[in-house]
Each structure stands twice: as structure tokens, then as C-alpha cells.
Symmetry: C2
Amino acid sequence: MVQSNPVDPQVLILGSGFGGLEAGKVFRGKPVGVTILDRHNYHLFQPLLYQVATATLSPGDIASPIRWIFRRAANVRVLLGEATAIDAANHRVQLADGAALDYDFLIVATGASHTYFGHDDWGQHAPGLKTLEDALHIRRRILLAFERAERESDPATRQELLTFVLVGGGPTGVELAGTLAEIARHTLRHEFRSIDPSQARIIVIEAGPTILSAFPEGLRDAARASLRRLRVEVREGAAVTGVDAGGVTLGAERIAAATVLWTAGVAASPLVRSLGAPLDRAGRVLVQPDLSVPGYPEVFVVGDAAAYLDDNGKALPGVAHVAMQQATHAARGILGRLNGSPSKTFVYRGLGNMAIVGRGSAVADLGWVRFSGITAWFSWLFLHIVQLIGFRNRLLVLVQWAVAFVTFQRSVRLITNDEGRSDRS
Amino acid sequence: MVQSNPVDPQVLILGSGFGGLEAGKVFRGKPVGVTILDRHNYHLFQPLLYQVATATLSPGDIASPIRWIFRRAANVRVLLGEATAIDAANHRVQLADGAALDYDFLIVATGASHTYFGHDDWGQHAPGLKTLEDALHIRRRILLAFERAERESDPATRQELLTFVLVGGGPTGVELAGTLAEIARHTLRHEFRSIDPSQARIIVIEAGPTILSAFPEGLRDAARASLRRLRVEVREGAAVTGVDAGGVTLGAERIAAATVLWTAGVAASPLVRSLGAPLDRAGRVLVQPDLSVPGYPEVFVVGDAAAYLDDNGKALPGVAHVAMQQATHAARGILGRLNGSPSKTFVYRGLGNMAIVGRGSAVADLGWVRFSGITAWFSWLFLHIVQLIGFRNRLLVLVQWAVAFVTFQRSVRLITNDEGRSDRS
């Protein structure tokens, strides 16, 4: 292992999600000096975040220290910090603490956060699920709702405490709803003396005509049937017009609910605005065919922060394998350019779509084959566990899943403090 | 399973630490109505808390939901809430949210928190380790110190960031020091590019004449030798006279350190003051031979909140097995009194003392036998794992320990947000 030569070209990677991590891996041992900057010291395996929010997994099970991942790559350094602006003209990134980092090549992989479509005040009542802090906050809210209901004597307030609304019928909304239903119907059974947790109402509200819109109709039907068995109410074509501390409003209708969770909208990380490049409606950079930014061939944007239009003019979905393929393409493009090769057009290899609905139930659309039920559930489990970073994480997640599957037990049901959040409950 | 008869005598247990939990277990299925009140919804296995603070275990591994523990005991109800005052004359406990709970019998098992011996302002610079929030805060501080050192160019500031001071040479201070040394010397090796984590200074400061004062001299020597091998500096008979953001002062001497942790003093939970009973210097209730409060035979205090003097006039130590034995005695005393039996004097059966020093090294004094080294370490491990509540917790802790032992890996190295704490770093 040799330290990178200080005269090597310097590559700066912003973000250590699926995209940033994959780009870093391509550069391991190559004649470039690489810096990975992230606000957190860990890579987060986002597809399992809802399992932390619903008390099945611990934060440490789905997060790995970035330093540890790159410990053997002497040419890769990892810095903890937050980028606030990109000065593309001067090849420089500004950090929140006043420092700056210069680069020869830049890969922006800062992802997306949730958006409330102009209603930012809804955020304090309906938290979204993007970070570990979000997941712990949601876990706290869900568990506190049951605790408060146990001590509540007024029947109407008690029913409000036992009503859970999920705004957004995408994979995250469906996964949260299914898991919440299991918690109420099975995990918490026998544990309360004044309330019956199985009487909890769980409602998924989707503004579009259908839940899981990225899936074919047959699989959507299978998901709806699974949710029905779990007594989850599914409302499609129902637009939320208001969110407050007491519930949600849908036009003339009112649903009183103490817990409202938001999985409806995502917008690209605001950092990319400082590039001055053209953006789409979700704030994503409209990248060139080689994923670089118009006018700055040394700057690449990958993953959820990029809008890469397919042949139909539709942006690729914000999922892990898109980010990873784009990151690999951008990193190889940089290495190629250092060798004098021309830039290449990114070609996406579709890997399909999967969503979990509940214990032993999932839907999978791999393009050439579609399936649902227990087979899809095991495939989902297998694929997600092998993708987790580190032997320890895979083993722990497998053990916890096996215990939860057999016993319905969710032992990470800890109400921990998070008073630092602005949207405290 | 039958719900308890509402005319049964009502027992209220404050706190769900080792004492409160044990008392609750004695009452399972007995003809009393039991309420367990705690500020948290989980029982915390405190002896392993330092493993959370040093990133080996997750919070969920050492905490179990109280409701789950008592799910099959229909006569036991669990409430989340904070007691603020005990009105012993009226058999009533006041809660922070304005509610009140009446009782026929009361067991106070609210434990202790750390004390700064009148220097409460030291608390913001030198956090103690009593709660899960404390552990996560300390974990954040330790990890951030290394991250900041990596980005620091001034050598003096860098050394300050890499200096860790533990005030207090009891078991917790020694355990933290040993684990910190392993993190610096092994776990973080190869992960940084600008600093060498193994150059970190770790200093244990004990005001008394010796560390581990509850142990015999031979075992103390063994512990000192283990700490020396880990390059931990041990300062005995050294009183800290000042703590601030930049380090600690010992009389004329100054040690610059970005991270100072406090394991020196404990004081009983302030709630017991409202009993109006005589207290000792640490704020503990001087209980009667049957553990009841003078003047209130229906109120018992057990564990760290009680001072039970042995034949030499010395209070029993604040450890788990004292609390558990006292709780069992108090609970059986209540059941006996309901059957007309007279109250009995509490007799403590000493079970010995153990402390872990580092990987594969511990000291154990069981009274009839004393040993140190790897045998003591395995005994410590075994005893603590079997005492953990729930099969899942035991299995997970065993797996994580095995991985950490073989690989030196500590994967729960997550810097998560805790801005809500008043002593933010």
C-alpha cells in the first residue's frame, strides 16, 4: 500500500451513498488521489431504513463507517464535513466550516431529500425517512403513540393516537404500512392493559391513481391483497390537502391521526443548484450523455441528484442500482480521460423493481419475470442481505430477521431522546 | 391469565432498573395489582453501557422493552412517565405530566445518577455514563475527536484532540480506558491518512489512593499491568480541581484534552428527597433493617437509592446484585405482610466483584477465589451474557463480541446527532 502521489490528479467525491461509495471503489489503487466528503461518518444502506424506523434493526446494522470500508485504499482519504457550494469555475468546493477543497475532477453524489411540494410547514407534523435520525425519530413517534394511548381515557383521543397515516404509496410507504400493521396486530399483542393495539388504523394515501406505480398491474393487485389481509386501508387517487398536528385533510374529508409519515416526494440535494446547470422540476441536474455537467466536463453528477433522461425523455428512477451504475460510469470516464480516451455515453442496464409488503410477502418485477408472495420475499431478503457491507452486518441482520420472523418480536423498541430535532413531537 | 382484581392491594414500583424489574417479577401472578413506572420504555443492562459508548454494541442489544418482559403477567401494568414527588402521608406519587398514582405499597427503585461534587458546571465538559443517551453522546464525542484531529493542521490542537481523560478509577473508568486504548491502538489503525490514532493518550485519574478500590491489592496490580500493556496512563491520588472545554486541571498541573469523561461520583436520584426521610451524604435513604422507610412501613427503597449499612456501618455497594437481592426482599416482605407475617431483616449475600480491563483481560474477586487474566475475562463475559434479558439479545451480543474479539472491529462507530443535549460538544 502506497500513499497517493501528491501530484496525482485529485478526485473529489461528494457523498458516500450508493453512488459515492461505488465511485470510490473504482478508484482504489489507481493513480489518482481521492477524497470522499460526507456529512456522516458512515455509509447508510437506505433500503433497510424502514426496518430501523419500525424497530426491527438497529442503526448499526445498516450503517458502516466509510473509513473502515476504505481502510486498505491508501490513495483514498475520507473527510467528515458538509459541502455548501460548488465553485465549478475555480474547481473548488466550499465547506460549512469555512474550509475549501480543490479538485481536478468532481463527482457529485449527494442524493435527495424529501419534499413537501411547497408546504414545508407539513414537515414538522409528517416526518420523512431519509436519514438514521429520521428513522429514530419515526420509531420514537410510533412507540410513543401506543404509550400515550395506554394512558389516555378519552376514546376519541385514544383512537387518534392509534391512527397512523402514510402519505405516499411508493415502496417505502407500502413497506412501512405493512410493518406497522404487523407491530400493531402481532408484536404488541398482550403488552397493553387499557388498549388493544390490534385496533390500530393504518392508512396509505396515494395521490396518483395507484400505489406502487412503477410496478405492473398484476403485482400491484398482489400487493393490495397482502395489505388487505393486514387490514391496511389503501386510498388511491386521494390527494392530501393539509397536514397538521391532529391529522390530515383530503379536500372535504378529515382523518384524525397522531402519527403522519411522509414518503410522497423527493427533491435533489440543494447543493447542486450552485452548479448553475439546468435542473428538472425535482431540482436534479440535467446531465450530459456521459453524466457530466454542461460546460464543466470535469464535473459529474450521479444518482438521485442527476436527471438522466431515457429514450422516452423520462428520468431514470432514484434507486440504488441506477446510482451505482452511474458512479461506475463516471469514475471509469475520469480514468479513461486521464488515458486520453474519449467520453462514453451512459447506458443503463435495468435490474428490475422489488418491494416488500409484509412478513413473507413481497412483489418483484425483474423485467423477464414477475413474481409475488413468499418467493419474492425471500429473494428480496437475500438480495438485500448480500448487498450489506461487512460480514458482521450481514450476520446480525440475518439473525434479527430470523428472530423477528419466527417470534414477531421486534426488540429494538426503544424510545430514545431526539429533542434536538426541530419537528419534535 | 387473569387481569388483577381491582380490589387487590395496589403496589407501585418506581423505576425498572435491576431493582424495579426484580420486584415486578416476584409479584407476577400474585394477588396484587402492580404498576411499574419508568421514564424509559426499556430496562437497561447498565454493566454493558460502556460497550455502547465505545461502539461495540448497539443500544438495542442491552435494552429490552419493559412491556415485553411482563407481557404474560396480566396483573402487572407498565406505564411510561416520570415521578416528581412522593407524598408518603397520602400514599400518592406525583407525575411530571400532572397525573398522580395512588398506592398501598411503594417500592422506590429509581437508582442514582452521576454527581460532580458541587461542580455542576463540569457536567457539560465531562459527561457521565448512566443512560443510553449518555452512551451515544460519549460515542459521538470520542469518534468526533478522531475525525477533527484528521482535519487539524496545528500539532498542539491535534494532540489535544487525541487526548482522552477518564476521571474516576472505578470499574467503569477502567473499562472505558481499556476499550478506548484498543480502539486507538487497533480498531482505527490504517483508517486515517493525516494522524496516527495509536498515538492517542489515554489517562485515568483517580483521586483516591488506588484504582479499583473495592478489589484486593493483588487484583489491582494485575489491572494496572494490563492497563500498562495498553499504554493507558494511570494517575492515582490525583484530585481533579477543574474541568473545562480544553481539559482538566490537577492543582498546578494542566492536561489539555478535548475529551473528558466522568465516572467519579454517584448520587441517589433526587426523587427520594421528597420522602422527608434521613439521607446519607450521597443522598441515599437510610432504610430500616427490612428496607422500609422510617415512619412509612409501606414504603421501601432498594438499590442505588438506598443506604443499607452493614455491620461495619458501611453502605452496600451500588451494584446490580445488591439491588436485585433488596428488591426480592422488599417484594416478599410485602407479600408476607399481606399474609400477616412480621417483617424480616435484609441479609446480603456477597457475590463478589468483577471488572474488565481490556480484550481478554479482567479481574474477579468472588470472596473464596480471586483470579485475573483471560479466565476472569471469559467468566465476566459468560456471566454478563447469561444475565441479559431475551434470547435475541444474548445471541446478538455473543456474535458481536466474537467478531470484535477476532477482528478488533467495532462496527457501531456511528456519529449520530444528539443536539438536544444541553452539554453539546
